[in-house]
């Protein structure tokens, strides 16, 4: 079984990898990351404008809607390199919202919103609920039609970068069936959004109270495609979280190695001690293998069957790899590792985000077991 796994890497992926690598390294050194942690918005609007100018928001959007016309495979290297530098900003939620529209939006919605997204307006998704089920079809929020309008109720959590977004696409139950609905953020009542305290301080995440929110009836996405759309978003989110986990794991290993090569204890560089060296190698092995899974998931994304297996494996392997690498990074920095000043905590906190959203390793593996045997 599984003899013929594929891993291809396009010219476009290679170009984007190189550009993103240089861009993110230049724009997001750690002192900048730390400064933006203190900032309410969480990113530098000037850098965001540069990313828009590079066309990144339209990478996976067809040209007819103002995009570049590539695919999620080409988004992966960009997200990976952003996370390698712990860069903030609404790039990922906006990309995912565009994917939701492409998979399940009406023609009118696509024509109206996608060009604006490509031109730089942010959007986000509201899918997770306080019941904490990773299954996106478990929805308790509701939409009830009343006088040509939809009255929403319920609560969403982990609405990423909602403060920056023009549109929030939320999952709701309508007439007993899952549906997706576009909310203009400007129409939200005062106090509907509350910023959540999340471990990864480079993120901006919000809780959204839907009670009292009304949207026009044409805010519904195509209800005949809700389940495919939710499945697509689930896998696209997992793919990008895998890219983020790999990017952060790469830096985390390098950061640890740097310390092991310079810090001395008992008269020796601590990297010469095998009790530190060997687990660091284990972290490297886990990261490298996860990265191979990531690019396998990127190049097979959207394929029936194989695509889902690849994404779930990438998510399982990459989030485990980052959490392990960062956990050991803290430990191997000793007393310094216990301080806020040490960057190991930044990676460990990023790992919590990548691991616990959209299904951790054991969850993905249970899904894979169903798919594989």
């Amino acid at each position: 079984m599984e003899r013929n796994v594929t891993l291809t890497f396009s010219e476009e992926q290679a170009e984007l990898l190189e550009v993103a690598q240089n861009f993110c390294r230049d724009k997001s050194p750690v002192p900048t990351v730390r400064k933006l942690i203190e900032d309410e918005l969480g990113y530098d609007p000037a850098v965001w404008q540069e990313m828009i100018a590079l066309g990144w928001l339209g990478i996976a959007v067809p040209e007819e809607f103002g995009g570049v016309g590539l695919s999620m495979a080409e988004v992966v290297p960009v997200v990976e390199q952003m996370s390698r530098r712990l860069m903030g900003g609404p790039f990922v939620p906006t990309t995912l919202a565009a994917q939701a529209l492409l998979a399940g939006g009406t023609e009118a919605q696509k024509s109206r919103i996608l060009p604006e997204i490509c031109a730089g307006k942010a959007a986000t998704l509201a899918l997770t609920e306080p019941h904490a089920d990773w299954d996106l079809t478990h929805i308790e929020a509701k939409a009830v039609e009343e006088g040509g309008k939809l009255k929403l109720s319920g609560t969403k959590i982990f609405v990423v970068d909602a403060a920056s977004a023009e549109w929030i696409i939320a999952s709701v139950m309508k007439d007993g069936k899952p549906a997706l609905v576009i909310i203009e953020k400007a129409a939200l009542p005062e106090g509907a959004l509350r910023r959540e305290v999340v471990a990864d301080e480079t993120r901006r995440s919000f809780r959204l109270e839907l009670d009292g929110v009304e949207v026009p009836a044409d805010a519904l996405l195509d209800t005949s495609r809700t389940s495919e759309t939710l499945a697509h978003i689930d896998l696209a989110s997992s793919l990008l979280l895998s890219a983020e986990a790999c990017g952060a794991a790469a830096s985390c290993v390098d950061y640890t190695v740097e310390y092991l090569k310079t810090r001395k204890q008992f008269g020796k560089l601590i990297g010469s001690y095998q009790s530190l060296k060997h687990p660091t190698v284990d972290a490297l092995v886990a990261y490298e293998t996860a990265r191979s899974h990531l690019y396998n998931a990127a190049c097979t994304f959207g394929q029936q069957g194989e695509g889902e297996i690849a994404v779930r494996m990438a998510k399982s392997e990459s989030s485990d790899a980052l959490s392990f690498a960062a956990d050991r990074a803290i430990q191997f920095h000793g007393g310094f590792g216990f301080t806020y000043e040490c960057d190991a905590q930044l990676y460990r906190r990023r790992g919590m985000w990548c691991e616990y959203l959209h299904g951790d390793g054991p969850y993905q593996r249970a899904k894979l077991a169903d798919l594989l045997f």
């Binding site: 891993l7 095998q274 190698v281 690019y295 396998n296 390793g361």
Partner: protein, 402 residues
């Protein structure tokens, strides 16, 4: 090479397929070894020697080695096809592993005309079994520290010392031998020389080693004033380390040039999945147990990761940060994976996990238990997993030496 047409290859494949379908022997009434390192009985040895001889005579082993020395003189692509068809037909392993994978490529690469004429045909036909004398009892992973002495005396070298883990040492006619010719060399590596040493001269004695599986397959080899001809030197006196390193590259496939065939057969991961469905663990099929499911998927991901690492290592932009990372870690991942998957296969079997080869009630004749114990040959041989960690840490991450 470049002017091999697809048509020629297809015809060759059809011929090979027909031949293997006709000639792959039925399973004998004794258990065949899974690898060349486990040939422990005369009947196993005779069976496998006959099979290799037959494959060679049919032109499906050494097909790409030069004709003048006994090879088939064809392009490598033909041998690759033959090996694929051999695998497809489920043929037994090639016996003379050290010969076809190490000694043969080395002799073709660096040997004299006389050495090529003398040794290549016998390697392919399995007439002359070769063994390898690198490791020593006191220097397992530290190859450069080999202490077996070879002292020049007229037209001979006189060898004293001992080599261990000599696969098929008791059957071998020749040994590729790493020995110390200059104990006073400033660098320990410069004192080593490499020989194509005859095992049939007086003063060479092999003692079989019983392995943890209860089988044989390795020997310890003792040299007591054994005289080997100076003409058996290869690469020049004092150049043994470079020759040994080059030889290891044939093994890793970095240089190519092996005769073809395969010398190990590992159960496919699909067979482990299949076992999970039928093995009863605590009264239920193991595949229903959530912990077994989790562990099995984790290992399937590792297995797939190994294949993907191989593919990614050929995509330059995706390996630019640490180019040596993937090649240097594959041995570690593969051997630890193989140990762990066999361990998990045992865990699927409930109380039957405690059976062993010979018990009729054991799943698959106890092959999982034996494979698990044998898997340590991978995690220990060729540099232990712990040494692999040092190598990766030092050569890829640039960590200071331990």
């Amino acid at each position: 090479m470049s002017d091999v047409s697809q048509k020629e290859l297809d015809e060759f494949r059809a011929g090979a397929r027909a031949w293997f379908a006709e000639n792959v022997p039925a399973d004998p009434d004794f258990m065949l070894p899974l690898t060349f390192m486990e040939v422990g009985t005369q009947e196993q040895f005779d069976f496998l020697r006959d099979w290799q001889h037959k494959c060679y005579e049919a032109g499906y082993l050494g097909a790409a080695w030069p004709k003048e020395y006994g090879g088939g003189g064809l392009a490598q692509a033909f041998q690759d096809v033959a090996t694929q068809e051999m695998h497809r037909a489920g043929g037994p392993i090639m016996l003379n592993a050290i010969g076809i994978n190490w000694a043969g490529p080395l002799i073709l690469d660096m040997g004299s005309e006389e050495q090529r004429k003398a040794y290549i045909k016998g390697i392919l036909s399995a007439e002359d079994i070769w063994c390898q004398g690198f490791s020593e009892p006191d220097h397992g992973s530290d190859l450069g520290n080999a202490q077996t002495r070879a002292v020049r005396d007229g037209d001979d070298y006189v060898v004293n010392g001992s080599k261990i883990w000599t696969t098929q040492g008791n059957y071998a006619k020749y040994m590729i031998l790493l020995a110390r010719t200059d104990p006073d060399a400033p660098r320990k590596y410069d004192g080593l020389s490499f020989f194509l040493a005859p095992m049939t001269v007086p003063g060479v004695e092999t003692v079989p080693i019983k392995k943890l599986t209860g089988e044989y397959g390795f020997t310890q080899t003792f040299f007591t004033d054994a005289r080997i001809p100076a003409t058996s030197l290869i690469g020049g006196e004092g150049k043994g380390w470079a020759v040994a390193m080059r030889t290891l590259e044939y093994e890793r496939g970095a240089r190519g040039g092996q005769a073809g065939g395969y010398v190990t057969v590992y159960p496919d991961v699909g067979e482990v999945v299949e076992l999970a469905k039928r093995a009863l663990r605590n009264g239920h099929p193991a595949c229903e147990d959530p912990i077994i499911r989790d562990k099995l998927v984790k290992l399937l991901a590792t297995y797939r990761g190994l294949q993907l690492n191989g593919k990614r290592s050929r995509i330059a932009p995706l390996v630019q940060d640490k180019p040596m990372s993937l090649p240097l870690m594959s041995k570690l991942i593969a051997t630890e994976f193989y140990r762990e998957i066999n361990q998990l296969a045992m865990a699927m079997q409930g109380p039957r996990g405690a059976y062993y080869v010979g018990e009729p009630e054991a799943y698959d004749e106890g092959i999982w238990q034996r494979s698990y114990l044998n898997a340590f040959s991978g995690t220990i041989g060729g540099g232990t997993s712990q040494i692999q960690h040092n190598i990766i840490g030092e050569h890829v991450l640039g960590l200071p030496k331990s």
